[in-house]
Symmetry: D2
Subunit: 107 residues, 4 copies
């Protein structure tokens, strides 16, 4: 993830002296809340009816808290994603999971 | 966000012919579920007791679905974050919110 | 809510000496996690494909944590629901909201 | 669960002709959103600082959607809870789990 955008997020936090509230547990709670606010944009609706501008906003909120959590634990997001994709390719081998939405323990 | 990592996520999806399941509503649900799996690592515990390797994995899952949703709507993640930080600086002016965890409508 | 079922939940908790972990914040986190496990039964699927036995189990988990939280704050669930229905009938007057899924601030 | 309170919830729904939106998947999403709104009352705070009146309101919202889902599948909530407590006593035998917050697969 671009160091520049992470720096902007940290600057926003530090201008407001908010690091004191940002223990990992509360960051994980905040991330959960933002993901629910994003999900709410699809409640009672189909995909086509969601407000794209609001999706963009809520997705940004989700990303901000995800990056704050990553920063908290010195997690390199790109490496973490690559490792997870590698792990998932074991859980979901192409031959078993192609065109199939089943969870790995039901394959 | 690095185009390279997004390309890897899309390749993983397309090798398994999973785009057919990835309507935005279900992607938002999946994102919500992964954020809860991340939060579960802190349940009944304090920050210091969370398993960092598992945090890294679940955070990767959250990021993967967030990036798939961004890709779905052609959202540039860096721009979206910058716009949201700008919007948030209106909702949370430094002079009112410094050192203060109150929500904007309680400031 | 039936005092009998609440008593059984509390007995289960006390046999295991778990009240020490059940501060309200962690109970709210647990409730959130269970609601996501319930939601996961509908991921990538339509309503008709959900496993009813699993829905029953996860719904029970949600109810157990909701009742533990209510018990924590001495909340009478029936009264709380009645008050909320009364409040909601103000936010969603029949003439404005009939046959309409809009949120109250969009009516 | 008291038939009377369920009847009031259904009456509220039917006065507004909202059953048409209440497919199980969206009910599960709504339940998830309300549980996040409840959790938000504890964000950046300790248990002692949560607003009890708001906890009562959000808990009522959670219960309303949980009961609508139970009604959708003809689930008797008391039986479901009793069955889950019985199942949980297998996963969490008293001798192994007493005074211990570990998940069943870590006991």
């Amino acid at each position: 993830m671009d160091q520049e955008i992470i720096a902007k997020i940290l600057k926003f936090r530090d201008e407001r002296d908010w690091a004191q509230f940002h223990n990992a547990k509360d960051l994980a709670i905040a991330l959960n809340i933002e993901s629910s606010e994003l999900l709410e944009l699809f409640l009672w609706k189909g995909e086509a009816d969601a407000d794209i501008e609001k999706v963009k906003e809520e997705l940004a909120d989700v990303m901000i808290y995800a990056l704050l959590l990553a920063n908290k634990y010195n997690i390199d997001v790109h490496s973490a994603i690559e490792e997870k994709l590698a792990k998932n390719s074991q859980k979901y081998p192409v031959d078993k999971s192609k065109g199939n939405a089943k969870k790995y323990n039901e394959l």
